[in-house]
């Protein structure tokens, strides 16, 4: 990759939850491209750019563990008589959730002692959304800013491995360095099945996701790709290739 960065991340625990087993959580075997993008965005991101993950290296053997945690079963609603909207409009209301009434215990199968290498590059969004003149292409500027911040350990919020409770530690791999070698047991080909690529947002007047800065209604659609691991390396298709239009 002419313009790209390589980052090594590691942590004690990680959980990249499968959508079908999201309640009683079971993790994917390796980091999903969307989680990798989340780590990069935590370190550096600007609205005009988008991180595209190219390749994922799995640098530690797969180890799993099992936890059970007490969590909540409900959310504070937005609409409705007890909702945030009504309370904000009227200026009063009780919005708290009493844990004892809504406690749910959820089991989770999570990864432990993980180490990944992320290769990614930056793409600048095609044009200003308001239809202004095309921007110059400052990928190099963004990449340099990222590298500087990664070297110094700076981030907007602490990067995490799938869930916020599993912090990720990171180290930039400089141009003259290589990733650590493939660990034992991960050599040869391994089929990891369909894995979540990312969530695609498309405009939809009836969509239930509301864009934060402009209030547009969007629909969130998960996209999947066939993850094949060769000697610990997963090639990630670019999102535009995985989902035909836009």
């Amino acid at each position: 990759m002419a313009y790209g960065i390589r980052l090594e991340v590691w942590g004690d625990y990680a959980s990249f939850n499968r959508p079908e087993m999201k309640v009683e959580r079971v993790t994917y075997d390796a980091i999903t491209p969307s989680a990798a993008r989340g780590i990069l965005e935590a370190i550096y991101w600007k609205p005009e750019m988008q991180w595209i993950v190219d390749r994922i290296h799995v640098l530690a053997p797969l180890r799993f563990t099992h936890v059970r945690r007490n969590e909540l079963g409900s959310k504070i609603p937005i609409q409705g008589a007890d909702g945030v909207a009504k309370a904000a409009a009227s200026g009063k209301g009780a919005l708290g959730i009493c844990v004892e009434d809504h406690r749910q215990q959820r089991a989770a199968v999570i990864l432990r002692d993980v180490r990944y290498g992320i290769e990614a590059h930056v793409e600048i969004r095609p044009a200003h959304e308001d239809g202004g003149p095309p921007l110059p292409h400052p990928e190099a500027k963004h990449l340099e800013m990222f590298k500087r911040r990664a070297r110094r350990g700076q981030f907007f919020h602490h990067p995490y491995l799938g869930c916020r409770e599993f912090p990720a530690f990171f180290r930039l791999i400089e141009d003259d360095e290589e990733f650590p070698s493939c660990p034992d047991g991960l050599q040869d080909f391994r089929d990891l099945g369909l894995m979540l690529l990312d969530v695609e947002y498309s405009e939809d007047p009836k969509g239930s996701v509301v864009e934060a800065n402009r209030g547009r209604r969007l629909r969130a659609t998960p996209r999947f790709f066939h993850a094949r691991m060769n000697d610990g390396v997963i090639e990630v298709p670019s999102p535009s290739a995985a989902w035909g239009a836009a």
């Binding site: 499968r18 999201k22 075997d29 059970r68 079963g73 969530v199």
Partner: protein, 593 residues
């Protein structure tokens, strides 16, 4: 991966007629009563549909019916020509008003499509429903007994149930166009774009789940939903894929061959299958996972199973060369084992999932059995011989007094350790040591656990049978303790040869001897002298020689033994006791000493 492998399994199960896989849109339900009608619609009788099973209680009949399991909820959801007694007849003794409303919804849903279906049998059913009133149900005693089963309709004198009539089925299939607006998305099992299931069919038979069934991809609370999606739209799976994977799982858990595929152990339902039928599949559940029922009984009754077990055990004993060709069409057949449990009644959690080739599985099993191998206490010929390769159940059972107290996570951790060749769970070892201290009994299975832990987790070299040359003090102290106890038993035997005391030093002093030997062993050696005096001639000399030989290598009796040493103590005790009670070993001992 799990859903995908179940999806692939459906293909194989569907082609095998012995598996009773329900086609899409149908399901197998437990039917307990039949409403028998005259051709004109008047009621003839309500009959018991159960078959008398083993042990005197009757089991419901599995019948293929149109429609899937009733969804839960407070609304009315009548089924087509089958339902529970409340819907079918209005019979709901604990809530008669609800029963009345259920019956009305059932009746209305059938009567309103009568002109469409237009078949004499269906007209008979509608006639019956129009003329029936729920209070007549009380006069049928069969309804009191049936419990929670479902009922179906039948015309007197004709075989088959009304819902099996091909015209009626065809009409029903035609009407079953989906009334929901189809949401289209990429299926996460197949990768294909298509209509996505809003609710996945329920899976029945997971330990701890509710009888109506639970779901894997169930989002039954608002906190679990994201992106504004509801229910199973949070995990897009196409209707077809949802039907396939849940049918496959249901058949594994509750179908005709469930004894082969499913075992409940430590609160988890463990399902096992191979992608092609194989010998491993037939014996894995019973042999490796094990059960509270002795596997030996099942094996002795079925010649075929016994033959397969022979092949399997030979493969485990002797390695790959002995089985390629016999065991499988190919070593590369893939196996899958999934542990499921239901921490809440309506949701299924996956505890562990392993897959790989059969060759890898055998390697891992062989490694496991080699690590835990210990000389058996009761060999063939005794009333209940110890298994040469103890099952997971047998090992895990040693951790608690009652099987209900076995920690559920321990089973899955042990399973995981066996399947992936990693270290055994520490909890297993400490639980077994705790049980030994509590009931002061070191049996074969406990010795296996201890040896396995010491070999695999701590990397020690531990003997399978008695090793008289091993110098380490903990092992020697265990052997010494066994010798002292045996002397005490022999001293109190008298002429009959049977010991006349109820409590030996093991009952009083095992715990302290294995944890703080320096406090207890000198005292025991003193009383040992008295016991020794009561033995006669040759036995006395040999016993004393043995004790001296054991003590020779112990310089100082340690003040405290850590966990690993306590395990060695237990093993030393076990080995020495075995050698006392084995006849040939006894002779060898006397001749050597």
């Amino acid at each position: 991966m799990i859903l995908k492998s179940l999806y692939d399994l459906y293909e194989r199960l569907n082609e095998d007629p012995t598996y009773d896989v329900a086609p899409p849109g149908r399901s197998y339900q437990k039917v307990t009563f039949v409403v028998v009608l005259e051709p004109d619609g008047s009621l003839f009788d309500i009959q018991d549909a159960r078959s008398s099973g083993t042990g005197g209680h009757s089991t419901p009949r599995r019948v293929l019916v149109p429609g899937v399991t009733k969804p839960s909820g407070a609304g009315f959801n009548p089924r087509f020509l089958w339902d529970s007694p409340g819907y079918l007849l209005g019979w709901k003794p604990d809530n008669p008003e609800r029963g009345m409303m259920e019956f009305e919804s059932f009746r209305d849903s059938h009567v309103c499509i009568e002109p469409d279906v237009n078949t004499p049998e269906f007209t008979a059913v509608c006639e019956f429903l129009r003329s029936w009133s729920p209070d007549r149900a009380a006069s049928f005693p069969i309804l009191q007994e049936i419990g929670s089963g479902f009922g179906v309709f039948q015309i007197r004198g004709r075989t088959g149930f009304i819902h099996e009539h091909p015209d009626i089925l065809a009409r029903w299939d035609a009407r079953e166009g989906s009334t929901d607006v189809a949401v289209e998305a990429e299926c996460l099992v197949t990768g294909r774009f298509g209509a996505v299931a809003r609710l996945h069919p329920k899976v029945k038979g997971v330990a701890g789940s509710q009888p109506a069934g639970a779901t894997i991809a169930g989002f039954n609370d608002s906190a679990y939903c994201s992106y504004g999606l509801t229910q199973s739209f949070n995990a897009p799976v196409s209707e077809d894929a949802a039907h396939r994977y849940t049918s496959a799982l249901n058949v594994l858990l509750d179908g005709p061959h469930r004894d082969k595929h499913r075992r409940v152990i430590g609160g988890n339902s463990v399902v096992f299958w191979t992608e092609k039928p194989s010998i491993i599949e037939d014996v894995f559940a019973a042999f490796v996972i094990g059960d509270s029922n002795a596997f030996a009984d099942a094996a002795s009754q079925d010649e075929a199973i016994r033959a397969k077990l022979e092949v399997f055990v030979t493969a485990l004993r002797h390695g790959r060369e002995s089985y390629s060709g016999d065991l499988d069409p190919t070593e590369e057949t893939r196996y899958h084992v999934v542990g499921l449990s239901a921490p809440t009644p309506a949701r299924i959690a996956v505890r562990f999932a392993h897959h790989g080739t059969v060759a890898e599985l055998l390697d891992k099993l062989r490694q496991h059995f080699r690590d835990i191998e210990v000389q058996r206490q009761f060999t063939e010929g005794s009333k209940r011989p110890d298994p040469e390769m103890p099952s997971v159940w047998l090992l895990v059972r040693q951790t608690a007094r009652e099987s209900a107290d076995i920690p559920p996570t321990l089973t899955s951790s042990l399973f995981h350790a066996i399947m992936s060749g990693t270290r055994y769970p520490d909890g297993l070892y400490s639980a077994v040591l705790r049980r030994i201290a509590a009931d002061r009994h070191v049996n074969y299975a406990r010795a296996c656990v201890i040896k396995g832990y010491l070999v695999r987790n701590l990397g020690m070299e531990v003997p399978v049978a008695l090793d008289t040359t091993r110098p380490d003090p903990a092992y020697r102290l265990g052997r010494l303790f066994a010798a002292l106890e045996k002397t005490q038993l022999d001293a109190h035997s008298g002429d009959s040869g049977r010991p006349s005391i109820n409590r030996t030093i093991r009952d009083s002093h095992y715990s302290s001897a294995s944890t703080n030997p320096a406090t207890v062993v000198p005292r025991l050696l003193r009383t040992y002298q008295h016991h020794l005096g009561k033995l006669d001639g040759g036995r006395k000399v040999n016993r004393e020689r043995l004790v001296q030989e054991i003590l020779a290598a112990i310089d100082v009796i340690p003040a405290h033994l850590g966990l690993a040493e306590q395990g060695l103590f237990a093993l030393g005790y076990y080995h020495q006791m075995n050698s006392f009670y084995t006849k040939t070993a006894d002779h060898a001992e006397t001749s050597a000493n």
